[in-house]
Protein backbone atom coordinates (compact mmCIF):
# COMPACT_ATOMS: atom_id res chain seq x y z
CA UNK A 1 0.00 0.00 0.00
CA UNK A 2 1.23 3.49 -0.86
CA UNK A 3 1.19 5.26 2.52
CA UNK A 4 2.88 8.50 1.42
CA UNK A 5 0.82 9.09 -1.74
CA UNK A 6 -1.28 11.91 -0.24
CA UNK A 7 1.79 13.71 1.06
CA UNK A 8 3.47 13.37 -2.33
CA UNK A 9 0.41 14.75 -4.12
CA UNK A 10 0.28 17.69 -1.68
CA UNK A 11 3.96 18.36 -2.38
CA UNK A 12 3.31 18.22 -6.14
CA UNK A 13 0.38 20.65 -5.90
CA UNK A 14 2.45 23.09 -3.85
CA UNK A 15 5.28 22.85 -6.40
CA UNK A 16 2.92 23.57 -9.30
CA UNK A 17 1.31 26.44 -7.35
CA UNK A 18 4.69 28.05 -6.65
CA UNK A 19 5.36 28.08 -10.40
CA UNK A 20 1.91 29.24 -11.45
CA UNK A 21 1.21 32.02 -8.89
CA UNK A 22 3.87 34.55 -10.08
CA UNK A 23 2.83 33.96 -13.69
CA UNK A 24 -0.80 34.69 -12.79
CA UNK A 25 0.46 37.84 -11.06
CA UNK A 26 2.35 39.03 -14.15
CA UNK A 27 -0.59 38.14 -16.44
CA UNK A 28 -2.86 40.32 -14.27
CA UNK A 29 -0.24 43.09 -14.31
CA UNK A 30 0.02 42.91 -18.11
CA UNK A 31 -3.76 43.30 -18.39
CA UNK A 32 -3.76 46.39 -16.13
CA UNK A 33 -3.53 49.97 -17.32
CA UNK A 34 -0.14 51.12 -16.04
CA UNK A 35 -0.14 54.51 -17.75
CA UNK A 36 -1.54 56.24 -14.65
CA UNK A 37 0.18 56.60 -11.27
CA UNK A 38 -2.50 54.61 -9.40
CA UNK A 39 -2.48 51.95 -12.14
CA UNK A 40 1.25 51.38 -11.93
CA UNK A 41 1.05 51.35 -8.12
CA UNK A 42 -1.68 48.68 -8.21
CA UNK A 43 0.35 46.65 -10.73
CA UNK A 44 3.40 46.87 -8.48
CA UNK A 45 1.38 45.69 -5.48
CA UNK A 46 -0.04 42.74 -7.47
CA UNK A 47 3.47 41.62 -8.52
CA UNK A 48 4.84 42.00 -4.98
CA UNK A 49 1.95 40.05 -3.42
CA UNK A 50 2.12 37.33 -6.12
CA UNK A 51 5.88 36.80 -5.82
CA UNK A 52 5.82 36.86 -2.00
CA UNK A 53 2.94 34.35 -1.98
CA UNK A 54 4.84 32.14 -4.42
CA UNK A 55 7.98 32.27 -2.27
CA UNK A 56 5.96 31.21 0.81
CA UNK A 57 4.16 28.43 -1.10
CA UNK A 58 7.48 27.32 -2.66
CA UNK A 59 9.21 27.12 0.72
CA UNK A 60 6.33 25.09 2.17
CA UNK A 61 6.48 22.93 -0.99
CA UNK A 62 10.20 22.27 -0.50
CA UNK A 63 9.69 21.31 3.16
CA UNK A 64 6.67 19.09 2.39
CA UNK A 65 8.21 17.34 -0.61
CA UNK A 66 11.53 16.81 1.17
CA UNK A 67 9.62 15.18 4.04
CA UNK A 68 7.51 13.10 1.64
CA UNK A 69 10.61 11.91 -0.23
CA UNK A 70 12.33 10.89 3.01
CA UNK A 71 9.23 9.03 4.25
CA UNK A 72 8.68 7.30 0.90
CA UNK A 73 12.31 6.22 0.84
CA UNK A 74 12.04 4.79 4.35
CA UNK A 75 8.80 2.99 3.44
CA UNK A 76 10.39 1.60 0.26
CA UNK A 77 7.89 3.35 -2.02
CA UNK A 78 8.31 5.28 -5.28
CA UNK A 79 9.12 8.97 -4.83
CA UNK A 80 8.31 10.24 -8.32
CA UNK A 81 5.56 12.72 -7.34
CA UNK A 82 7.53 14.09 -4.39
CA UNK A 83 10.63 14.51 -6.58
CA UNK A 84 8.67 16.42 -9.22
CA UNK A 85 7.09 18.50 -6.44
CA UNK A 86 10.52 19.23 -4.95
CA UNK A 87 12.04 20.28 -8.28
CA UNK A 88 9.02 22.46 -9.15
CA UNK A 89 9.08 24.05 -5.68
CA UNK A 90 12.79 24.87 -6.00
CA UNK A 91 12.35 26.35 -9.48
CA UNK A 92 9.23 28.27 -8.39
CA UNK A 93 10.91 29.69 -5.29
CA UNK A 94 14.06 30.72 -7.16
CA UNK A 95 12.01 32.28 -9.99
CA UNK A 96 9.81 34.19 -7.54
CA UNK A 97 12.82 35.36 -5.52
CA UNK A 98 14.45 36.65 -8.72
CA UNK A 99 11.24 38.43 -9.73
CA UNK A 100 10.80 39.85 -6.23
CA UNK A 101 14.34 41.19 -5.96
CA UNK A 102 14.44 42.25 -9.61
CA UNK A 103 11.35 44.31 -8.90
CA UNK A 104 13.16 46.09 -6.07
CA UNK A 105 12.88 49.28 -8.06
CA UNK A 106 9.15 48.69 -8.53
CA UNK A 107 8.79 48.21 -4.78
CA UNK A 108 10.61 51.48 -4.16
CA UNK A 109 8.40 53.20 -6.72
CA UNK A 110 5.26 51.78 -5.07
CA UNK A 111 6.46 53.02 -1.67
CA UNK A 112 7.21 56.47 -3.11
CA UNK A 113 3.86 56.61 -4.87
CA UNK A 114 2.07 55.51 -1.69
CA UNK A 115 3.95 58.10 0.35
CA UNK A 116 3.11 60.90 -2.08
CA UNK A 117 -0.55 59.79 -2.30
CA UNK A 118 -0.94 59.84 1.48
CA UNK A 119 0.99 63.10 1.99
Amino acid sequence: MNTTKNKQITALILGIASLVIPNIGSSITNAMDTSTNSGSMAAGIVIIVATLAAIVVGIIGIIKSAGARKEAKEAGEKQVLATIGLVLSIVGTVESAILFFACGLCIACVACAAASTMA
Binding site: S26, N30, I59, I62, I63, S65, A66, G67, R69, K70, K73, T83, L86, V87, S89, I90, V94, E95, A97, I98, L99, F101, A102, G104, A108, A111, C112, A114, A115, M118, A119
Partner: protein, 273 residues
Protein backbone atom coordinates in the same frame (compact mmCIF):
# COMPACT_ATOMS: atom_id res chain seq x y z
CA UNK B 1 26.65 47.04 -18.41
CA UNK B 2 23.45 45.06 -18.88
CA UNK B 3 21.49 45.66 -15.64
CA UNK B 4 18.25 44.42 -17.21
CA UNK B 5 17.27 41.97 -19.92
CA UNK B 6 13.90 41.20 -21.48
CA UNK B 7 12.83 37.57 -21.15
CA UNK B 8 9.40 36.56 -22.43
CA UNK B 9 8.26 40.18 -22.30
CA UNK B 10 9.44 40.65 -18.70
CA UNK B 11 12.23 42.99 -17.70
CA UNK B 12 14.41 41.14 -15.23
CA UNK B 13 17.62 42.24 -13.47
CA UNK B 14 20.70 40.36 -14.69
CA UNK B 15 22.01 40.17 -11.11
CA UNK B 16 18.90 38.20 -10.13
CA UNK B 17 19.32 35.93 -13.15
CA UNK B 18 22.95 35.20 -12.28
CA UNK B 19 22.00 34.49 -8.65
CA UNK B 20 19.25 32.14 -9.88
CA UNK B 21 21.67 30.30 -12.19
CA UNK B 22 24.17 30.21 -9.31
CA UNK B 23 21.63 28.59 -6.95
CA UNK B 24 20.76 25.87 -9.48
CA UNK B 25 24.39 25.13 -10.50
CA UNK B 26 25.58 25.19 -6.87
CA UNK B 27 22.79 22.79 -5.86
CA UNK B 28 23.68 20.36 -8.66
CA UNK B 29 27.42 20.48 -7.86
CA UNK B 30 26.70 20.04 -4.13
CA UNK B 31 24.57 16.99 -4.90
CA UNK B 32 27.23 15.50 -7.22
CA UNK B 33 30.01 16.05 -4.67
CA UNK B 34 28.13 14.38 -1.83
CA UNK B 35 26.15 11.74 -3.73
CA UNK B 36 28.45 8.96 -2.54
CA UNK B 37 27.86 9.94 1.10
CA UNK B 38 24.11 9.26 1.07
CA UNK B 39 23.14 12.88 0.55
CA UNK B 40 19.98 13.16 -1.56
CA UNK B 41 18.08 15.89 -3.39
CA UNK B 42 15.83 16.63 -0.39
CA UNK B 43 18.88 17.09 1.86
CA UNK B 44 20.42 19.52 -0.63
CA UNK B 45 17.14 21.44 -0.98
CA UNK B 46 16.65 21.73 2.78
CA UNK B 47 20.30 22.70 3.30
CA UNK B 48 19.83 25.43 0.70
CA UNK B 49 16.70 26.59 2.48
CA UNK B 50 18.40 26.71 5.90
CA UNK B 51 21.39 28.56 4.45
CA UNK B 52 19.21 30.99 2.49
CA UNK B 53 17.13 31.83 5.59
CA UNK B 54 20.25 32.57 7.64
CA UNK B 55 21.91 34.40 4.75
CA UNK B 56 18.99 36.74 4.11
CA UNK B 57 18.77 37.70 7.80
CA UNK B 58 22.56 37.93 8.28
CA UNK B 59 23.24 40.00 5.17
CA UNK B 60 20.59 42.58 6.12
CA UNK B 61 21.80 42.78 9.74
CA UNK B 62 25.42 43.40 8.69
CA UNK B 63 24.24 46.00 6.16
CA UNK B 64 22.30 47.60 9.03
CA UNK B 65 25.48 47.62 11.16
CA UNK B 66 27.19 49.77 8.52
CA UNK B 67 24.35 52.28 8.96
CA UNK B 68 24.20 52.17 12.78
CA UNK B 69 24.59 55.93 13.27
CA UNK B 70 21.92 56.68 10.68
CA UNK B 71 19.52 54.18 12.30
CA UNK B 72 20.14 55.68 15.76
CA UNK B 73 19.54 59.17 14.31
CA UNK B 74 16.35 57.94 12.65
CA UNK B 75 14.98 56.58 15.94
CA UNK B 76 16.00 59.79 17.77
CA UNK B 77 14.04 61.94 15.31
CA UNK B 78 11.22 59.44 14.87
CA UNK B 79 8.50 62.01 15.54
CA UNK B 80 9.65 64.14 12.58
CA UNK B 81 8.83 61.39 10.06
CA UNK B 82 5.50 60.01 8.89
CA UNK B 83 5.05 56.24 9.40
CA UNK B 84 5.62 55.47 5.70
CA UNK B 85 8.72 57.68 5.49
CA UNK B 86 10.09 56.03 8.63
CA UNK B 87 9.51 52.49 7.31
CA UNK B 88 10.89 53.45 3.89
CA UNK B 89 14.09 54.81 5.39
CA UNK B 90 14.54 51.97 7.88
CA UNK B 91 13.74 48.95 5.72
CA UNK B 92 14.28 50.49 2.27
CA UNK B 93 17.52 52.39 2.84
CA UNK B 94 19.26 51.48 6.09
CA UNK B 95 18.42 47.75 6.27
CA UNK B 96 17.55 47.29 2.59
CA UNK B 97 20.97 46.35 1.24
CA UNK B 98 22.81 43.06 1.57
CA UNK B 99 26.43 42.35 2.54
CA UNK B 100 28.06 39.11 1.37
CA UNK B 101 29.89 38.50 4.64
CA UNK B 102 26.67 38.91 6.61
CA UNK B 103 25.04 36.32 4.36
CA UNK B 104 27.97 33.94 4.77
CA UNK B 105 28.04 34.21 8.57
CA UNK B 106 24.22 34.09 8.85
CA UNK B 107 24.03 31.06 6.55
CA UNK B 108 26.74 29.18 8.43
CA UNK B 109 25.09 29.94 11.80
CA UNK B 110 21.78 28.63 10.38
CA UNK B 111 23.52 25.41 9.29
CA UNK B 112 25.18 25.04 12.70
CA UNK B 113 21.77 25.39 14.36
CA UNK B 114 20.23 22.89 11.90
CA UNK B 115 23.05 20.46 12.65
CA UNK B 116 22.57 20.83 16.41
CA UNK B 117 18.76 20.66 16.45
CA UNK B 118 18.19 17.76 14.07
CA UNK B 119 20.40 15.98 11.59
CA UNK B 120 17.45 14.80 9.55
CA UNK B 121 18.49 16.77 6.46
CA UNK B 122 21.75 18.52 7.25
CA UNK B 123 24.55 16.35 8.67
CA UNK B 124 27.41 18.67 9.50
CA UNK B 125 30.11 16.02 9.70
CA UNK B 126 29.51 15.04 6.06
CA UNK B 127 28.08 18.18 4.49
CA UNK B 128 30.15 21.12 5.81
CA UNK B 129 32.99 20.19 3.43
CA UNK B 130 30.55 20.31 0.52
CA UNK B 131 29.23 23.68 1.71
CA UNK B 132 32.80 25.06 1.80
CA UNK B 133 33.38 23.94 -1.80
CA UNK B 134 30.19 25.41 -3.28
CA UNK B 135 30.25 28.79 -1.49
CA UNK B 136 32.99 30.20 -3.79
CA UNK B 137 31.22 28.68 -6.81
CA UNK B 138 28.00 30.51 -5.93
CA UNK B 139 29.98 33.66 -5.21
CA UNK B 140 31.50 33.48 -8.71
CA UNK B 141 28.03 33.76 -10.24
CA UNK B 142 27.12 36.52 -7.80
CA UNK B 143 30.13 38.63 -8.80
CA UNK B 144 29.45 38.14 -12.52
CA UNK B 145 25.92 39.38 -11.69
CA UNK B 146 27.47 42.41 -9.97
CA UNK B 147 29.53 43.13 -13.10
CA UNK B 148 26.49 42.86 -15.37
CA UNK B 149 24.37 44.98 -13.02
CA UNK B 150 27.09 47.56 -12.51
CA UNK B 151 27.38 47.44 -8.70
CA UNK B 152 30.53 46.72 -6.58
CA UNK B 153 32.62 48.45 -9.25
CA UNK B 154 36.37 48.98 -9.21
CA UNK B 155 38.57 52.06 -8.97
CA UNK B 156 39.33 54.33 -11.90
CA UNK B 157 42.42 53.23 -13.81
CA UNK B 158 44.09 53.56 -17.20
CA UNK B 159 43.37 49.99 -18.21
CA UNK B 160 40.01 48.46 -17.61
CA UNK B 161 36.47 48.63 -18.93
CA UNK B 162 34.34 51.66 -19.71
CA UNK B 163 30.60 51.29 -19.32
CA UNK B 164 27.96 53.48 -20.94
CA UNK B 165 24.26 54.10 -20.22
CA UNK B 166 23.96 52.21 -16.91
CA UNK B 167 20.70 53.51 -15.50
CA UNK B 168 21.12 51.84 -12.07
CA UNK B 169 24.59 53.22 -11.26
CA UNK B 170 25.15 56.39 -13.31
CA UNK B 171 28.44 57.01 -11.42
CA UNK B 172 30.17 54.23 -13.40
CA UNK B 173 29.24 55.56 -16.83
CA UNK B 174 31.97 56.75 -19.22
CA UNK B 175 34.80 56.14 -16.72
CA UNK B 176 37.52 53.57 -17.27
CA UNK B 177 37.33 51.26 -14.26
CA UNK B 178 39.08 48.11 -13.08
CA UNK B 179 36.65 45.17 -13.51
CA UNK B 180 37.19 44.11 -9.90
CA UNK B 181 33.97 42.08 -9.91
CA UNK B 182 35.35 39.82 -12.66
CA UNK B 183 38.72 39.56 -10.89
CA UNK B 184 37.00 38.46 -7.67
CA UNK B 185 34.80 36.06 -9.65
CA UNK B 186 37.97 34.55 -11.13
CA UNK B 187 39.61 34.23 -7.70
CA UNK B 188 36.49 32.55 -6.32
CA UNK B 189 36.39 30.15 -9.24
CA UNK B 190 40.04 29.19 -8.67
CA UNK B 191 39.31 28.77 -4.94
CA UNK B 192 36.39 26.47 -5.81
CA UNK B 193 38.69 24.21 -7.88
CA UNK B 194 41.38 24.22 -5.18
CA UNK B 195 38.86 23.18 -2.51
CA UNK B 196 37.39 20.54 -4.82
CA UNK B 197 40.89 19.18 -5.50
CA UNK B 198 41.64 19.01 -1.74
CA UNK B 199 38.31 17.23 -1.18
CA UNK B 200 39.00 14.68 -3.91
CA UNK B 201 42.47 14.04 -2.48
CA UNK B 202 40.97 13.61 1.02
CA UNK B 203 43.05 16.48 2.38
CA UNK B 204 41.75 18.61 5.28
CA UNK B 205 38.76 16.31 5.79
CA UNK B 206 35.99 18.03 7.81
CA UNK B 207 38.19 21.15 7.85
CA UNK B 208 37.58 22.52 4.35
CA UNK B 209 35.42 25.31 5.74
CA UNK B 210 38.41 26.49 7.77
CA UNK B 211 40.58 26.36 4.64
CA UNK B 212 37.95 28.55 2.95
CA UNK B 213 37.96 30.92 5.94
CA UNK B 214 41.74 31.26 5.56
CA UNK B 215 41.69 31.84 1.80
CA UNK B 216 38.66 34.02 1.07
CA UNK B 217 39.32 36.77 3.67
CA UNK B 218 42.78 37.28 2.11
CA UNK B 219 41.25 37.61 -1.37
CA UNK B 220 38.58 39.98 -0.07
CA UNK B 221 40.96 42.09 2.01
CA UNK B 222 43.16 42.81 -1.05
CA UNK B 223 40.16 43.14 -3.37
CA UNK B 224 38.62 45.90 -1.21
CA UNK B 225 41.55 48.25 -1.92
CA UNK B 226 40.59 48.21 -5.59
CA UNK B 227 36.90 48.90 -5.14
CA UNK B 228 35.55 52.24 -6.22
CA UNK B 229 32.21 52.28 -4.42
CA UNK B 230 32.06 53.66 -0.90
CA UNK B 231 28.59 52.62 0.20
CA UNK B 232 29.76 49.82 2.50
CA UNK B 233 30.91 51.98 5.41
CA UNK B 234 34.45 52.59 6.56
CA UNK B 235 35.98 52.19 10.04
CA UNK B 236 39.58 52.95 11.05
CA UNK B 237 40.51 53.49 7.40
CA UNK B 238 39.33 49.98 6.52
CA UNK B 239 36.05 48.94 4.96
CA UNK B 240 33.54 46.86 6.92
CA UNK B 241 34.39 43.84 4.75
CA UNK B 242 38.10 44.23 5.50
CA UNK B 243 37.41 44.30 9.25
CA UNK B 244 35.21 41.19 8.93
CA UNK B 245 37.98 39.58 6.83
CA UNK B 246 40.47 40.14 9.66
CA UNK B 247 38.00 38.72 12.21
CA UNK B 248 37.28 35.62 10.09
CA UNK B 249 40.98 35.02 9.44
CA UNK B 250 41.67 35.35 13.18
CA UNK B 251 38.80 32.93 13.93
CA UNK B 252 40.24 30.38 11.46
CA UNK B 253 43.71 30.75 13.02
CA UNK B 254 42.44 30.33 16.60
CA UNK B 255 40.30 27.35 15.55
CA UNK B 256 43.28 25.69 13.85
CA UNK B 257 45.57 26.24 16.89
CA UNK B 258 42.96 24.75 19.26
CA UNK B 259 42.30 21.90 16.81
CA UNK B 260 46.01 21.07 16.46
CA UNK B 261 46.43 21.20 20.25
CA UNK B 262 43.49 18.82 20.69
CA UNK B 263 44.90 16.42 18.11
CA UNK B 264 48.30 16.51 19.80
CA UNK B 265 46.77 15.84 23.22
CA UNK B 266 44.51 12.98 22.10
CA UNK B 267 47.19 10.24 21.55
CA UNK B 268 48.88 11.13 24.86
CA UNK B 269 45.60 10.70 26.71
CA UNK B 270 45.03 7.38 24.97
CA UNK B 271 48.46 6.18 25.99
CA UNK B 272 47.84 7.26 29.63
CA UNK B 273 44.51 5.43 29.65
Amino acid sequence: MYPFVDIFGRTIGTYGIMVGIGIIVTGIVFLLILRKKEVYLEDVAMTGLFFAAGAVIGSHIVYGLTNTTKIIDLFRHMSEYSFIEFMKLLFGSYLGGMVFYGGLIGGLIALLIANKVSQKYFRGDVMFDGVAIVIPLFHTFGRIGCFLGGCCFGVECKFGITIHNNTLYPAINDVNRLPIQLIEAGCNFILFWVLLFLYKKNKFQKRLLIVYLFAYPVIRFIDEFFRGDDIRGFLFGLSTSQIISILLFTFATVFTIIDLKKRKDTPVKTEQA
